[in-house]
Amino acid sequence: MAISVFSNRRATALLVMPALAIYTAVMLVPIVWSAIYSFMDGGLIGGFTFTGFDNYTQFFTDPQARSALRFTAIYAVAMTIGQVALGYLLSLLYLFHLRRSSTIVRTLVFFPVVLPTVAVALLFQRVFGLAPVEGPVNALIQTLGGTGIDWLGGTASAVGVLFVMDLWRSMGFYAVLLYAGLMDIPEEMIEAARLDGATGSKLVRHVVLPMLLPVLVSALVFSINGTMKVFDSIIALTGGGPAGSTTPLTLYMFQTAFGFGEYGYGSTIAMVLTLLSLIVTWFILRSTRRHLTAS
């Protein structure tokens, strides 16, 4: 009897079908549609011709694509580590240090997520500004005796500013996400471990971390998929410059498809990115499952 409730076919269809139908019509169909274009040469003006895997071969010999791929990889890995680690530290701070008074801090730290990207980018352009007005960062450097740096004008430093900006924006979100996970850990378990003599880092490593793993995995998957597709903040902060140093695959794809009028090749870039995201996501889920069953 109980089993039949869990495998009621009509109820299942009723629950799944609406979401699946909308998702299929609005996302899956377009994805497949564009996937087909990735095997074609041409654009919105002038139409398409089938060229097989030519676009894919082109991708791996295209220096701009390679540099966009490299930037995407560096950005995604560094940002994912940064976001999840910072969010995790903050959530521990909320739970073990601030405890009940953490609501207001949590709310405030979350706040940057609310701000429009345009506003955040303008803010960071000023904070790292050099001329005509020095921003706080360069003011600090000069007070300490250094010389000011044109942060957003340098290829490496602009990447740095982008990291700082996106970390600042997102840390509060990851903190809340992981905090929600921490709150779901039964208090008795932590207390039991405490009474068994586990404190500080030991407590965190042996009790909190394993219990948090499902939420941590969600956060990782969410983060890596968000950062591999970074777009808005780059458009607002650097537009992909200087000298293409902050151009990720998404932006290169967008420029190719709509700026250069090569929708076919643009689709190819998007497909490569999708495949990469799928592989990485699968890898994360796979390896953590093994870890979960092992522990």
Partner: protein, 437 residues
Amino acid sequence: MVSRFITRKGIAGLSLVISGLLAISACAGGGSQGAGGNGDGKFSGLTLTATTDVINTLNSLSTGDCQAQNTSAPLTLDAAPQDQYDQRLQLLLSQNGLPSTFLSPGTPDLGRKFIDADALVNVSQVLNDAGLKDAVLPAASSLVQQYYGSNDLYALPVQLNIEGIWYNKQIFAQHGIAVPTTWDQFLAAVDKFQAAGVQPIAQNGANPGWGITRWLGAYIFRALGPDAMRKVADGNAKLTDPQYVAAADQIAKLGAEGVFGKAVASADYNQTVNTFLTGRAAMMYMGSWITENIEDPKQNKVGAANIGFMRFPAVTGGAGAIDQMPANAGQPLMFAKSAFGDTSREWLKCIAQNYGDTAFEKSGLLTGMQMREKHDLSPLQRVVVDQVEGSPSTVLWFEALFSSQATTISTQNAGQLANGSMSGTDFMASVQAALGK
């Protein structure tokens, strides 16, 4: 764990669903015709949100000189932000749904593709048939012809700007510097400013750093002649040829000496204009659209009378001349073939005849369209008109004839050229590589 769904069975299911969807998407692809229609009964337009001059003028025409046209086909005007404007036009074109009239894409390259796709009305033909050949100013007409590499006009030049160096008369006088007419005099003036601790040039080098490549383009036209960039576009010359690299080296050298200020690679348009108009730099390269800012006392802290315009100096022994005026026609107004009918034709004729006067009366703006009445010009407008009339020919800018790829690379790398971290050779090589695609 969630990962359990990635199984071989899962992939099989996925491909089954996808093949089913293919059928659906194939049906969806071949739908009815676009909403554009043949344009009879309505006259739709698309402009940029920022081009209030165009919006105001078209709206004024619809209630003024073009009232009759507006009665038979009312004007419905949409405006879109500059961001993704080119994308929007392409999407509309792909659906055969371009509005009756619209501002051209941001790059001439894309406009050329529209012409190649036979999407645009041949404006010259319509005007000739109607006996309105003279509706477009000759200088503006030549600019649009150069834009799209065609002797026929495919757009009305509703914007017209000359370009050159704006300078702070006060700072020039303080340091006893006369307006330079040759590149050597210009370099001497720059040295003098540098020695006196004055920033010689304010220029936008942040991506897109077109302000910097304007210097490069203008220098190339002076040194190598007005057809120098046409040769590159046609493949008869390469940017990596020594004479082109030498031009880029001139700009790189200025950059290495800090002539553009200490943060040129992150200087955006606003900072540039502000630096110049608050008297913290002696010169700035800009189009004549800047007269609006110069005449605004809230922005211009040094006074409109203190700002002068000079032509880009001549290069001694160069193939170009100082009176070949760099100019642009902004984003000219195009007409979609798919939405072109009798009422649109009447609209086009009416716009061509009356745009110049209406734009000046409503927005105080000089356009590329002939004015039929005499108007009183402000001192700065007088300067611009005199320059236009005193220049026998015009030249475009560095990226004007480039593909969109090369334009992107050029404006992205410009800041590095201007702060001395990229050599002229490297810069030209990077742009040439993108051109070769």
